[in-house]
Symmetry: C2
Subunit: 111 residues, 2 copies
Amino acid sequence: MANYSPDLDRTFAALSDPIRRAIVTRLCEGPRSVSELSEPFEIALPSLLKHVRVLEESGLISSEKTGRVRTCRIERRALQQTEAWIHRHVATWERRLDRLEAHVQRMKRKH
Amino acid sequence: MANYSPDLDRTFAALSDPIRRAIVTRLCEGPRSVSELSEPFEIALPSLLKHVRVLEESGLISSEKTGRVRTCRIERRALQQTEAWIHRHVATWERRLDRLEAHVQRMKRKH
DNA sequence: AGAATAGTTAGCCATGACGGAAACTATTGG
DNA sequence: CCAATAGTTTCCGTCATGGCTAACTATTCT
């Protein structure tokens, strides 16, 4: 399983910050401008902008500037890929547990 | 949606490193000792141990020392919670797209 | 007992992350 | 044209991260 992926690195790192997760949550409801995104937080604009950049570099969001307004929107792929990575692991792990249990059952039957 | 969760912070941060993801992948196949875990990497033991600690603090793995050997194993909950967080978001996001498309369809029928 | 093994601690260094203030650019409303 | 708005750049301070080596403890093998 591909663990050497800078993509996954960036996505997980991006999601490790509560402000960035909140931005993602917010953008799931629809596109927002940078200052709309900043409203809920007690944080200076430049700091928020950094978070936006991190999210953008991770591929989780995209943004476009029209006039003086930058509009941010969520991007499906990164989030889905990340979910897929985790899902594969949970699955592997559960398969193993199943095998283990099957083994225990066989032992029981023998004795 | 709970974005102020130090648990999620730590889990995502833990998964943002390729070595730590490789450890998780490895442990999905079964418990391993610290030195078994270190084998695939060109990394000093103390460095690897730090990764193990980070994973342990995130709740992704647990470990127990018997004699001079510390055995690490995967812990289901953290990984599942993380998957759940992402899944909720992908879902929210897809619901929104569905609504949008339904809206477009209604407009089409009108004209 | 002595040597080898497994892990641990301590301390060091370079780099990157996250926060801020101040000053600047580019649009837009009056 | 001027003021207000929206975002951006620069620079700074502090703390966390990831790597190392060296030295140490605790077990286990001979």
